[in-house]
């Protein structure tokens, strides 16, 4: 885990240069086995990210499925932009692309859920556990889940990507479509909010 906050080896599965371009070309040619390979390589990582952001396993699977289908839809364009044997092909990283889509989908769904749940945007994140969470109070991961759930969506994404998925700051910034300075500022605020929530729950950092 990237607890030190220093850039670390990416947790995203990295294929040799050009392999992702070949995979994209097969997806563009509508090869179902190529999509199966993508799922085998990336789905677990994407599901972890989506689950830790939403706290709901079904929602997380739904997000990962939607991301894979978007890749299926966009494959012809991606393959056209990264033709095999050319320089751009080596730069293509489907894992990063999928991570970006999953992060955005999770943030969108969290925002939509918040709007549907309550028309007013609260001044601060509601740290009170929901009724169903109270029923799960005995579970060991309840504290960590509540800590993450108390963060605003973007701060949550920053913590999940860097702490849990061990992405470097640059990779996480790319996944969130932020410049590195903005991301580091967001990550700083996210850690501070996390510590405050932890202290409020009686924890000692």
């Amino acid at each position: 885990m990237n607890a030190s906050g220093q850039p670390s080896t990416s947790a995203l599965p990295v294929a040799p240069p050009g392999d992702d371009a070949a995979l994209a070309a097969r997806l563009a040619a509508r090869d179902p086995e190529a999509l199966r390979e993508v799922i085998a390589h990336h789905a677990a990582v994407l599901h972890r990210t989506a689950f830790r952001m939403t706290g709901d396993a079904h929602e997380a699977e739904d997000i990962v499925q939607e991301a894979c289908l978007r890749l299926w839809d966009q494959a012809p364009k991606i393959a056209a932009r990264h033709p095999l044997g050319r320089q751009p092909a080596a730069a293509l990283r489907l894992g990063a692309w999928l991570q970006r889509v999953v992060t955005n989908l999770a943030i969108d769904r969290l925002r939509r859920a918040r709007r549907l749940a309550d028309g007013d945007v609260p001044d601060h994140a509601d740290e009170a556990p929901l009724a169903d969470r109270l029923l799960e109070a005995g579970e060991r991961d309840d504290t960590a889940r509540a800590l993450i759930a108390a963060l605003p969506e973007r701060q949550r994404a920053a913590i999940v990507l860097t702490y849990y998925e061990e992405l470097s700051n640059a990779e996480a910034a790319e996944a969130m479509e932020l410049n590195i300075k903005a991301f580091e500022s967001l990550l700083h605020r996210a850690r501070a909010a996390l510590r405050q929530a932890w202290t409020a729950q009686g924890g000692a950092s």
Binding site: G5, Q6, A43, F51, A57, H124, R145, E153, Y163, A192
Partner: protein, 309 residues
């Protein structure tokens, strides 16, 4: 940033109590058959819509488009030439916009250029509307900029109204046979009004600056703001509609008529109004009725439940 804040945002140390707590966030595995479900969905998924193609028009339209572009280009060049005075150098008369308008309306040029008594609403306010929540500093800055536009417009309206009132007061004094104000007295009166206005603006600016800092902090922490967060509606109480109606009626009255209307009010209500006016003058209490948080309520947010004045 304080040392404590820096510590709060520092990386989470492995093995610390917080790291151990976070490490207990277990993730369930993907359900069985997930890949098959995705593949099935991909096969039944409708093909994405093709890119929009550029509409190829008929040959006639292509000619028309060329002519339209030519006319617009010629117009732009001619306008530029007229604006830079190049046409006058070749002795080609260029009528002014006022003359053209006067010839169209049949009025004299002087009437045509007469400005309205009140400054018009800034043109860009008509399109000022922010859709959806404000969740980036850029959007928030844009909202503040629009609010400042409206505040500036209202200040201009207020200045204009004060000028009109001074002029009408001088006229009334002259009509009543009272001695006219000397230029020094008039200048002193205007300076006093300007100072009072500056004091009032300063109070409003302080309030707004504090509120804006709070909003900026919220946006920076990743929260999305709605219109209600920025422009809070005025609190409603039982007397609010009646108070608004009275203010609306009094606004059209002269100071003497307004004083007379105040005398007609029940004693308790009159005392409450006077007390409220005094506290407003000292600047240590909210106005009744309270204005929205952004004191000079922007028109684009369409929230002014209560007029600012």
């Amino acid at each position: 940033m304080s040392v404590n804040e820096q510590d709060q945002g520092a990386p989470i140390v492995p093995g610390s109590p917080l790291a151990r707590a976070l490490g207990e966030y277990a993730v369930p595995g993907l359900s069985a058959g997930f890949a098959d479900r995705v593949l099935a969905a991909a096969e039944t998924r409708p093909a994405p819509l093709p890119d929009l193609r550029r509409q190829h028009g008929t040959r006639g339209w292509r000619w028309g488009r060329g002519i339209a572009i030519g006319v617009v280009s010629f117009g732009a060049l001619a306008s530029a030439a007229a604006a830079t005075g190049m046409l006058e150098r070749f002795a080609i008369p260029v009528p002014s916009a006022q003359k053209v308008w006067a010839s169209l309306t049949g009025k004299s040029a002087a009437e045509a250029v007469a400005s309205p008594s009140a400054p018009s609403q800034p043109a860009r306010l008509a399109q000022a509307k922010i859709a959806g929540p404000i969740d980036t500093p850029e959007e928030l800055s844009e909202a503040f900029r629009r609010i400042d536009d409206v505040r500036e417009h209202r200040r201009a309206v207020r200045r204009d109204r004060v000028d009109q009132r001074i002029a009408s007061a001088i006229e009334r004094r002259q009509a009543a046979g009272l001695p006219a104000l000397t230029p020094e007295e008039e200048a002193a009166l205007r300076a006093k009004i300007t100072a009072a206005q500056a004091r009032r603006d300063q109070l409003a600016n302080d309030r707004i600056a504090a509120r804006r800092e709070d909003l900026q902090r919220k946006v920076e922490s990743g929260e999305a703001l709605t219109r209600e967060d920025i422009v809070r509606p005025a609190p409603e109480d039982a007397d609010a509609p009646e108070r608004r109606e009275r203010l609306r009626q009094w606004r059209g009255l002269s100071p003497e008529q307004r004083r007379e209307a105040l005398r007609q009010l029940p004693l308790e209500e009159r005392r409450a109004l006077i007390e409220n006016y005094r506290t407003r003058r000292t600047g240590d209490a909210p106005r009744v009725p309270q204005t929205p948080v952004e004191a000079e309520t922007p028109a684009q947010f369409e929230t002014p439940a209560v007029p600012a004045d």
